[in-house]
Amino acid sequence: MLASWKARLFVGLSLSLSVVKASGEQFDEQLTIQSLRDGKVASTFSFKTLLKGVSPRDPRTLGAEDASQHYNVFPLALGQILREYAVTELHLSLNAGRWNYDRWGYPKEPAVGTGAELWAWMGDGGQVSVDHRWMGLRNALAGLFCASLGSLDEQRTTSPDRSFEPEGMLPDWGVPHRIRHATLPSENVCTENLTPFLKLLPCKSLSGIASLLNPHRLFDADWHGMGIHVLWREDEGVEVRLTFQSVSDPVRSSLGRKRDWSFRSLFDRTIDRQCPIAKTSEITVALPSEGSYSINPEPSVVNAGKASFDVATIDKPLDVALQWSGDFQYVSGFDKPITPFSVQRTLRGSSQAHGQLSVIVKNHQNSTQQVVYLETMPWLVQFYLHTLEIRVDGVRRDGIFSDIAYIPAVPHSRPATFQGILTLPPSSALHLTMDVTKSFLRYTEHRPDAQRGWDLPPAVLTVLELDSNTSTARHPVNPRIYTSTLLVDMATPDFSMPYNVIIFTCSLIAFIFGSVFNLLTRKFVVVRID
C-alpha cells in the first residue's frame, strides 16, 4: 500500500519535472574545489537557472501591464524585480576579505571586490528614467538580500562602461543601454544574506550540492563571498547564476599541518541526496600536479587533471576527500604571482586634510600589457589630477597613461569616475601617484562609527588584449582585478555640541553686531563731572 503510494508520488513528481523541462526552465549546479599553492582550498558553488527563450523587459513597456510571470524553478522574487525595473543584466556580489591574486590567481567568479558591488545594464528610454529604476532596483535587492544596498545611492553610483562590459548580450531594441555601478566596501556578507540566497534555489539547502552551504563553516573561511548574476543571451534566454566562493585554510585548522580536506572538514556536511530538479549536478576537483595523494570516493570521470563526480549517480552520502601522504610544505616560489600583473594601492600621508594615492602595478610578463584602470571614488576623497605622476622603475615617464576619462566628484552628491589605459612596459613596476584632498563632512553625514574612518571602493584593473591587427578595437577579455579597499581617516567635528556651536557663533556675531550698532546709533557727548 505504502509502496504503491510512493510509486504514484514518484510518477507524479517525474511528470511535474517533465513539465518544468518542457516549459523551458533548466537548473544546473556545480561545485569546483581547488587546492591552492599556499595550502588553502578554494570552493566555488555555482547554481545556474536558465529561463529559455525569454527576453528581458523592454523599458518602453514599463507603463503597460506586464506579461504574467509563472515560473517553476526560476526564482520568482528575483524575476519580479528584474521585470519591474526592466533590468537586462545584473551583477550583485557580497564579499568579505581580500582576494589574494598573487597567490590564488584569478578567481572562478571575477567579482571579488571587498564589500558589496552592484552593477546593472538597463535599456534607456520609456517613461521611467534609468536612475529611477536603478534606485528601485537597489532598494528591492536590499530588501531581498537583507543587505544595506539602499546605501548604494547617487553618492556611490558611477557609469564605468569600459571596465564593466556586459557578460551576456544586450537586446537590440533601438534604444541605448546604460550601466549603473556602485560599491559599498564596508558592507559585509553574513548569514542573513545567505538565508535569502538559499531561498532562491529550487532545492533550498535541503538536497544536492546546496546542502553543503553551511553558514557556520562558510563564514569562518578566510575569504568568502556570494554573487547573483543575471544575464541574457539571444540563443538561450535569461540566465540567473547564484554563486558562492570561499577560501578555507585546512592547514590552519589541522594540528599536523596537513592540507587534507573533505566535505566533512570544509563544510561539516555531506551530500545525502541529489536535488531532483537539477539537470546536471557535478562536483569537480582540480587534482594536484605534484605530491602523492588519494581521492575518495572514486571519481566518475578523470579528465585533464580534473576529477568529476556526478551527484545523481554516485553513492550517497557523498563525502569527497583529498588526502596527501605527507605534511604540507610551502613549495619554493609559492608567493610568486601567477596573474600577469599585480596591483598594490595605498593612501599615504597622515594628515586628515591631504594625502597621496599611490598605485604600484607590476607587470610580470616579458611583453607590454595594456590595462584599463578605473577609480570610482566617493567625493570624500577628491583627486588633484594635475599632480598625477607616473614612474616606471623609478624613472618618470609620460605617455604611459592614455585615454583618460574623468568625471569630477561633486561634494555631497556625486563620486568621481577616473578611467584610463595604462601601458605596462615588460617586466617592470609602474608607480602612479596623485595628491588627493580629503573632504570635510557635515556632522549629519558622518556615520555612527565616525572615528573608524571610511572604506573607499577598490580600483578595478582590466587587461586589454593587444590586437595585432588593429590597435583601436580592444575588448577586455580577461577578468577584472580588484585592488584592496582603502580606509581613509576623515576629520571629524565634535558630535556632542551642535547646540553649543550654534550658540557660541551666534553670540559672538550678536556681540560684534550689537557693539557696532551701539556705536553707530549713539552720539558722543561731553559731560561735566560734578
Binding site: 589630477l385 566628484a409 555640541m497 557663533t505 560684534i512 556705536l519
Partner: protein, 420 residues
Amino acid sequence: MSSSRIRSPSKFTLEFGLAFPLFAAARLVLSLTNLPHVLKYDHQLSSPLTSYLNLQEGIYLFKNGVDPYSGGTFRHSPLFLSLFTTILPATGVGSSILWTLGDASGAWALVQIWRARQRISSSQRDSLIAALYLFNPYLFLPNLAHSTSSFDNALMLFSLMFASQGRASASLLVLSFLVQISPSSILILAPVLLLLITSPVSRLASPQPLTSSGVQFRKSGLLLVEFIAYFTVFTLISALVVGNWIWIPQTWGATTNLPDLTPNTGLWWYFFTEMFDHFRPMFLMVFSIHLFMYIAPICIKFQYDPLFAAFLLIGILGTFKSYPSLSEPGLFLSMITIFPELYPYFRHPIITALLHFHASLLMPLFNSLWLNQGTGNANFYYASTLVFACSNGAALIDCIWAGLRIAIGEEETGYTVVQE
C-alpha cells in the same frame, strides 16, 4: 625684522623710492624659496575659493577638455581661468613673481590712497605703509601660499585708489572685476560710489552731513549704471570662456551655499558643519544677509568720509565673510596705517593687539593638532577661530569708536566724554 621696524616708526626714514623696491625684492626672495610648496596646503592661508592647488587643478582640467566647473574642486572665476591658461604663469618662478607683483602693487596702491587722502605727493610715512602691507604676516603668508586672495586685496586697493584719485571708470572697472572673482566684495560698492562723488580727504574730526556740502547724488546713479555695465560685460566674457552658465552656482553660489566645509579662519565653516540639516538654508540666508546689513548704517554714519566707511566694511568682510583666509583681516589691519589720526582715540588697542597675538598663535597650533597630529579636536581649532573673530571684531569696534570719538577731541579736566 619687520616687527622691530613697526615698533620704532620714528627711526624709519628710508626714502620710498629706495625702500619700496627693496621690500618688494625681499618678498620676491622669500617667494622663490621652497615656502610656497609647503604653505599651499594650509587651510588658513587660502580657502577653497582662493586655493592655489584648486586653481592648478582647474587649469589642468580646462586644458585637458574637462569642464572644471562640473566638479566640486574648482571654484575660481572663469576670468582667472582664462587669464591663467593664456597670459599669466601658474607654475614655477613665473607664479612667484606674479604673486609678489600682486602684493607689491597692492602696497603701492595703498601708498597712493594715503597720498590722495593727505593731498601730498610723498611723505615720510610712505615707506612705513608699504612695509606694513608687504610684511604683514596675515598678508604675506597667504601670498606665499599663492592664494588668489592676494589679487582680491590688490584689486580692492586699486579700486579705492582710483576712486580716491577721482578716476571713476577705472575704479568701477576694477571693482566689477573684483566682484566677479570675489562676490562678497560688493559691500565696497556703496562707499566707492560715495567716494567718487566726494573726496578721500579725512573729515573724521569735522563731521558734516553730505547734503550740506552740495554733493550731486544723481551722479552716483550714473556711476552705478556704469558699474553694472562693466559687471555684465565681465559676466558675458566668463560665460564665453566656459561656454555655459554652470560656473555661476559653482563660483558665486559657493559663497552663499557653502558646499565645501574645509576649515578656515572664519565663522561659517564649523557653524554649518554642526548645523541641523533642516535649519541650514535659513542660517545660510541669515549669514549672507547679515553681511549686507552693515552697508547702509556705516555709509550713512560716515557719509562725510567714505574712504573710512570702505575701510570699516573691509573689516566687516574680514570678520564675517563666508570663505575668508588670513588675508582679508590682514588687509583691514594694514589699512589702519593710512588713518593715523585715529591712533590717540582707540578704545582698547592693547586688548585688540593681544587678542590678535593670541589667535595667531593658537590657530596654526590647533589646526595642526587636529588635522596633522590627530591629538586635538575640531573644537580646539573652532575656539581659536572664535578668538580670531573676537580680535577682528575688537579691531573693528576700536576703529569705529576712534572714528566717532575723534570728532569730540581731547578730554578736558572736569569733563568726560560719554555715549548718549
